[in-house]
């Protein structure tokens, strides 16, 4: 869906059109949920964050700057909400990682589940600054400029954080014997 399609839907949302909101929800639900899941490593928490993000979006359409890209706004809210959630969770309980699904099955599926778990475990070792750039780059497919837009930091900082984060991930995932 193009930027102009998003704009049309947003204009309709501001007028209270629930169908337009549902169309945006259908488009962004999965990336928002995935970003939250990669940040938090917990499906229930990711569901709660996704719900909060869309409620905030719905309640704040009026404050959305139409000259900005909608996805930048949504992803920014998602990452900020996830970081807030992490803060709350860390205060309440020790960090709990979801266990990887290591149930039996075809060998390829088991390998894929192991890689997925190793990548997620490595992600969780990163600081939130590094984790956000990796998520935006590799899970949401954003360019350097788009990451800079979402995080409101200079492109140069994006590059530096991304390259440093990769170095840490390379060592962590390499240790797990994935390549």
């Amino acid at each position: 869906m193009s930027k102009s399609d998003d704009k049309n839907l947003i204009a309709r949302c501001i007028k209270g059109d629930r169908q337009a909101f549902e169309a945006l929800l259908i488009q962004y639900e999965k990336p928002v949920f995935n970003a939250a899941y990669r940040m938090l490593n917990n499906r229930d928490d990711a569901s709660d964050v996704t719900q909060t993000v869309f409620l905030k979006v719905y309640e704040n359409f009026a404050s959305f700057d139409p000259s900005c890209r909608f996805f930048s706004w949504v992803y920014r809210i998602t990452l900020n909400e996830s970081i807030n959630w992490l803060g709350k969770r860390n205060r309440l309980e020790p960090l709990q990682h979801e266990a990887a699904d290591d149930a039996g099955g075809p060998e390829q599926e088991v390998e894929s589940a192991k890689l997925s778990a190793d990548v997620q475990a490595a992600l969780m070792t990163l600081s939130t600054d590094y984790r956000t750039v990796i998520i935006l780059k590799h899970f949401l497919g954003c360019s350097y400029m788009e990451i800079s837009d979402v995080l409101e930091i200079p492109e140069k900082t994006v590059r530096s954080r991304l390259y440093s984060a990769r170095q840490i991930l390379k060592d962590a995932i390499g240790e797990a014997g994935n390549y």
């Binding site: 007028k15 569901s47 890689l115 899970f139 590059r159």
Partner: protein, 254 residues
């Protein structure tokens, strides 16, 4: 030969495809002449490939539905009243018009000797309720996301009525106890979208429901206490074990 930061940046940018034509040539030359750079390039490419091969996780199937149920309708822009609405909004005019209409109706009934309207006398087969449309207000809602049951329970008020809306999907038999300790609230009715599938029993201070599958239903409670704080405690059980507990509370604005 150690790889400088500048060369590391060049390799990373090349892998991301965020590189100028000029830098592409520089990267190609670097990889050709420097074995260490080639090794790093291969490692980073493998890393990015590994990360991007991780499959996206799917959100729970009910999540979209829950979000749509949670958002409150945005009040539409009020249109300016027309002349008749403006005129009828004036109490003096409204009472005069009602009085005049009553006088005209009485006179016409007397003059035509028509004291009975047979069409209205016979109400056999008349089914339904004619009532003033009453605005309902959303008060609170809670999402249920459990291995046995998922969905949403909302609390609305409509006049003196409280309405508990259940929109749930259960993968097996689930019992729900809705308890309202406030004795000024009592059970007043039940409605379900599906023709069957949910059973209900009510006693003083609580309602018990049993359901399975996808069910949408409403429990109507009479709020005899008027504008006071309301709490409904919900307890979900499956196989005799409590699987989820939550409550819906509403505090009226001062």
């Amino acid at each position: 030969m150690a790889i400088t930061q500048e060369k590391m940046d060049l390799i990373n940018a090349g892998i991301d495809g965020e590189i100028s034509h000029q830098d592409e040539d520089r990267l190609a030359a670097l990889l050709l002449e420097n074995a260490e750079a080639r090794a790093l390039h291969a490692e980073l490419q493998a890393l990015c490939g590994s990360i991007e091969s991780v499959e996206a996780v799917s959100p729970p199937p009910h999540l979209r539905h829950v979000i749509m149920n949670t958002i409150k309708p945005t009040p539409g822009k009020r249109r300016s009243p027309g002349f008749m609405e403006w005129l009828l909004a004036m109490p003096a005019f409204k009472y005069s018009a009602t009085f005049a209409a009553g006088v005209i109706l009485t006179l016409s009934a007397v003059s035509s000797d028509q004291h009975s309207n047979s069409a209205l006398d016979d109400v056999t087969g008349l089914v339904g309720t004619i009532a003033d449309p009453v605005r309902d207000d959303f008060l609170a809602s809670t999402a249920v996301d459990n291995a046995n049951v998922v969905g949403q329970v909302s609390l609305r008020s409509s006049g003196s009525m409280l309405i508990l809306d259940f929109d749930l999907v259960a993968n097996g038999p689930v019992e729900i106890d809705a308890q309202y300790p406030d004795r000024t609230i009592w059970f007043n009715g039940f409605g379900q979208l599906e023709a069957s599938g949910t059973t209900i029993s009510a006693k003083s201070g609580s309602v018990s429901l049993a359901m399975e599958g996808k069910r949408r239903y409403a429990v109507y409670l009479q709020n005899g206490g008027g504008q006071r704080e309301i709490t409904v405690n919900l307890r979900f059980s499956a196989g005799g074990e409590v699987i989820h507990e939550t409550s819906l509370s509403y505090k009226p604005a001062d």
